[in-house]
Symmetry: C2
Subunit: 144 residues, 2 copies
Amino acid sequence: MQISSRFTIAVHVLICIEAFKNERKITSEFLASSVNVNPVVIRRLLQQLKKAGIVEVKRGSGGADIAGNLSDITLFDVYNAVESVGEGQLFHFHDNPNPRCPVGKNIHNIMDERLREIQEAMESRMRSITIKNIMDDAYQYINS
Amino acid sequence: MQISSRFTIAVHVLICIEAFKNERKITSEFLASSVNVNPVVIRRLLQQLKKAGIVEVKRGSGGADIAGNLSDITLFDVYNAVESVGEGQLFHFHDNPNPRCPVGKNIHNIMDERLREIQEAMESRMRSITIKNIMDDAYQYINS
DNA sequence: TTTGTTGTAATACTTGACATTACAACAAAG
DNA sequence: CTTTGTTGTAATGTCAAGTATTACAACAAA
């Protein structure tokens, strides 16, 4: 099981918005052509990012823009915005462990904290990387 | 998207094998009743753990056992054994970014290393926890 | 030979990812 | 105030993976 491509697509989209904001209007069509997916996929993604306060999207006239400061947006913010299911739990637990087995009864007591630590390690790394960091890298490659 | 329940089931199974190894024969049926899934799910899981050298399963006479030392088996070993798809990549990338867009062309250059770091943070935390650690916790709850 | 078990194929169901068409809502320009 | 380009979103479809379940051959020990 992998984290869905919505996450990498979202980052791709943010890079494009920032990189081309002075050259052209950023439409879902344009973004879709860079990512190579259907424009509707982009529109839905932009809605999720908008709900999270990461982008602004103009209806009618069209165009997307990044809301606020690049160095205030972390990869975790993006991940959180687009990775919906599971209520924030990285690990999926089996649903009805047998309460009459001493292990089944306590499996959450035994494991939950460990799983939380693992998830926290990943998320804290995500929090340490901002879109600003990514853009700095991106420009290196774009200008060459 | 979440990491499949095979992982938590696998840990649950290992705890049961160890906790009850002196009391009874550990059959797929018994494990299935503690986890509350179909015995075939357990058998398939045990095959994956066996391929990874984590357990031994006796055909015919029946019974599963942990292979080797509890403190040599990490949560990462278990995770790796049962979490098949994606060739070890935690993040799923969109397939055909547009090579004629400077961002699309370089999206892997820009992101791959960052994603690797995030995945490494998670996996290294998993490597730091052994089945021995888990069992120590487990006994606390089981004996009370 | 009987019995209990594992190994595995076959089948089915459900869910989420992702794609696609269609169109109403909307904003700005003419 | 109509045209044009765009967004927002519903409806629909396809596909892959997770999970459940039945059935049975292979097997080991009593």
